[in-house]
Amino acid sequence: MADVPEIRPSDPRRPLPRARDPRRNIVEGLVRIGAMLAGLMIGVGALGTRLIAGRPLGVATFVALYLALTLCIWGLNGFAFRRLPLTGPLLFLFSAAAFGVLFLIGYLLGGVAGPFVLDAVSRIVPYLKLADGVFYLFAVMTCAGAGGCAFSRNIIYSAWSLLFALLGVAGLYVFLGADFPAVAQVLIYIGGVLVLILFAIMLTKQIGEDPKLTNAHVGFPAGVALAVVTIATLTYTAVMAPWKIVAERSWEPTAGPLGIAFLTDYLLPFEVASVVLLAALVGAVVIARKEIKETSDVTS
């Protein structure tokens, strides 16, 4: 039946013969997802119980793993590699091949790499500390956010990367015992500045503009070279300079002492900062307001 039959308006209940029923599609997808999950559960369960009990893998385990892999592949075939007609014996052949490959990989991992990795981990673990891990987490988050902000092609992605950079910096502040600056960072930068930036992006984007082109670069290699040189110089300074580091650390909350410092030692800068903020807010309103011209009746 080559020609597509017409839809008869007199019989709206009958679906198109060539089109696939969406409900059947959904059911088939659910069945395949269920098969995948069942395969995963069987495989992980069989392997896990054997490994936890410490017993060697028997024939029954291998058969169960093979069946689980077959189920997984059948389920996966509904979503990926749909060109491959994995039905009937071909499916079992394919899954046998995959099982063989996985068996080899697992044998190598378990027999060769496993003891080595366990040995290395047992040597490294005593040197790891949770605090160091948290620091590196925040540091990587900050640097990755800054890198995304600097190199992303899409300005919206840049703004979201900036969010991660600011959050990571707030975490570093906590790490340095500066609780009030950390909270101020989250409130002012993320709650204020980032929202302003997102508003500005959305107000200045033209509809239909290609988002890939909204964040173009000029002189990109020169910029990367500049970054490398700057990071190298500043890192050399930071590592080599003889900083006079005091021995004791304070982890006291700093909000109270900061407030006292602002109202005693730093009173004049504090007041000047408030005036600056007021002037900035009024100035921002004046600048960004839409100017109503005298000749506004003439549409330009």
């Binding site: 600097a150 300005i155 600056p181 700057t230 930071a238 005091v246």
Partner: protein, 105 residues
């Protein structure tokens, strides 16, 4: 005592500063340039607070006070800068800094 010392924080600050500078230098979008300025200020702030913690010692808060002032000025700068960007956009219909090279309409 943790093995994380002052150089770790200074290096993070340096990376923030350098990436912010790259953003300022290479971006053509004015909002992107303002984001780079925020990154630079954050790098400076990390240095302030790290020095306050490691060099100034307990009971002294000059670095934290400075960081608060930096945050305040960054907020003011962002408000003014984005207002200027919006004004430029209303005039030129673009915020590409290579094309907005006139101070008048």
């Amino acid at each position: 005592m943790s093995s994380i010392g002052l150089p770790h924080f200074l290096i993070v600050g340096a990376i923030l500063f350098a990436l912010g500078m790259v953003t300022v230098v290479t971006r053509r979008n004015a909002v992107g340039i303002l984001m780079g300025v925020e990154l630079i200020l954050n790098g400076a702030n990390v240095n302030f607070i790290a020095f306050n913690h490691f060099v100034e010692g307990p009971g002294r808060l000059t670095g934290q006070v400075f960081s608060i002032f930096v945050i305040v000025l960054a907020a003011a700068e962002a408000a003014i800068g984005l207002a200027i960007v919006l004004a430029i956009y209303q005039t030129f219909r673009t915020i590409d800094v290579e094309e907005t090279d006139l101070l008048r309409e």
